[in-house]
Symmetry: C2
Subunit: 259 residues, 2 copies
């Protein structure tokens, strides 16, 4: 006889409720947890921790026929990934605090500097701001038809480990998986130093005015270092980077602003 | 005879180019530096490090009569604060790398956990991602008619100090000033632990459906600690928190995910 209460997991993402990745996640989690999924109505990639200040938010239940997952409560929000977490904690989850927040699975890498801009990680950081163990998952494949199957056993192992061991308050995990049918394993690591170059594609509109569209190529600034998230992904491993939401940098001398 | 080249400072904000705070900043800086100001076309508060992925961006010169600051080059961008920094670095600043990025002065506090959501700090962090010494300035007064005058001598001292001493790569300063005519001084400190409670005001629309609008009250979780940004602001001081853009948290055991 199993008397243990099933944990409650809040799921969100930044690709919107129609994206394939979040359904891989909810399907897996609903096998061993109650799942409340609250996702943006449409794509919210690159939204970081943006929140909606100047407009009202709605939280709308999705009829189950729209998403065939009877074990999952589904909602959408007309806002950002952070809005999804905030407004659901305030409303539908007010009287049932989740045990964990899982976000993604993102279509595309959130390794290295991408973590700053990622809406998937934004929602995970918001979970951490609520002092909930939080994990953001991403697959290095932007395709809407991306194959999430190879990473799912690792996702389950990571979720179960965090459920058992917990995480320090204010810490979320940034988990990225390579696009590979033969993932070699998973490793805890650190964010790779790097930047995007040639970030915009330039165009001229029909009236002669320039406009710009975000694009670019990631440049690894420490390619010789095998112990970064980017290097592990390139080598076929899943990378796990613990990330803190406290921004304070303690390396500046106390006398820096002294007289 | 003064042969020293004037430094070049990129200015942005999240309240948009019409906001009073950014004009206090550009006016001060143009006294000793060349200033290129690139601000959102309208309010972009709470945009964090969001960037525009799914739409094109334009960068538009403002005619000088619209903003009477002949010493400042003024542009607007139809995007977020981070977009302003990124697209101007790619275009109008491509061949003249700025010496520094200054953002704000924000109308409203970006102390404590607000740093996560702030568009003003988002733009400063983007400056830090370009390895430029970067500072975000905020005044704890949301009013469009806020009085920025009392903080300006401190803003100048902080900018001149950073110009002289530099900052480590990937570090930006989060500077907040109290709403006070008699600021007591300025101090380097750390981010206060806290959260927002009662975050949403609830309404019912004319058709009986609920909607939510972001609101809330900041709760200081360490009120006994005098050495946080929030405590210093409450005591009448300007707070300076150095913030790192690298998210890696190193406090998780290597064996956490071990077999």
């Amino acid at each position: 006889m199993e008397n243990k209460k099933r944990p409650l997991i809040l799921v969100s993402n930044d690709d919107g409720y129609r994206a394939r990745g979040v359904h891989y996640l909810t399907k897996l989690l609903s096998g061993f947890a109650d799942v409340v999924a609250v996702c943006p109505e449409g794509p919210q990639s690159g939204k970081s921790m943006a929140l909606t200040v100047n407009e009202p938010l709605r939280i709308t239940p999705l009829d189950s026929y729209k998403v065939e997952e009877p074990g999952v409560e589904w909602y959408t929000v007309n806002g950002t990934p952070v809005d999804c977490v905030k407004v659901s904690m305030h409303s539908i989850l007010k009287d049932r605090r989740p045990d964990m927040v899982c976000t993604g699975i993102n279509h595309g890498s959130n390794a290295a500097i991408n973590v700053l801009y990622s809406g998937t990680m934004g929602a995970a950081f918001e979970g951490a701001a609520f002092d909930l163990p939080s994990i953001g998952f991403s697959l290095c494949d932007h395709s809407p038809e991306a194959d999430f199957a190879p990473m799912m056993p690792y996702v389950e192992k990571i979720v179960r480990t965090v459920m058992e061991k917990g995480l320090p308050a204010g810490v979320a995990l940034n988990v990225n998986a390579p696009k590979s049918e033969n993932i070699k394993g998973m490793k805890q690591t650190v964010e790779c130093k790097g930047h995007w170059s040639d970030e915009y594609k330039e165009y001229i509109d029909p009236y002669g005015r320039p406009f710009y569209w975000l694009s670019g190529t990631f440049v690894n600034e420490e390619p010789e270092n095998p112990d970064t998230d980017q290097a592990l992904l390139d080598a076929g491993y899943i990378s796990i980077v613990p990330c803190g939401i406290n921004r304070t940098y303690s390396g500046i001398s106390e006398n820096y602003f002294g007289d």
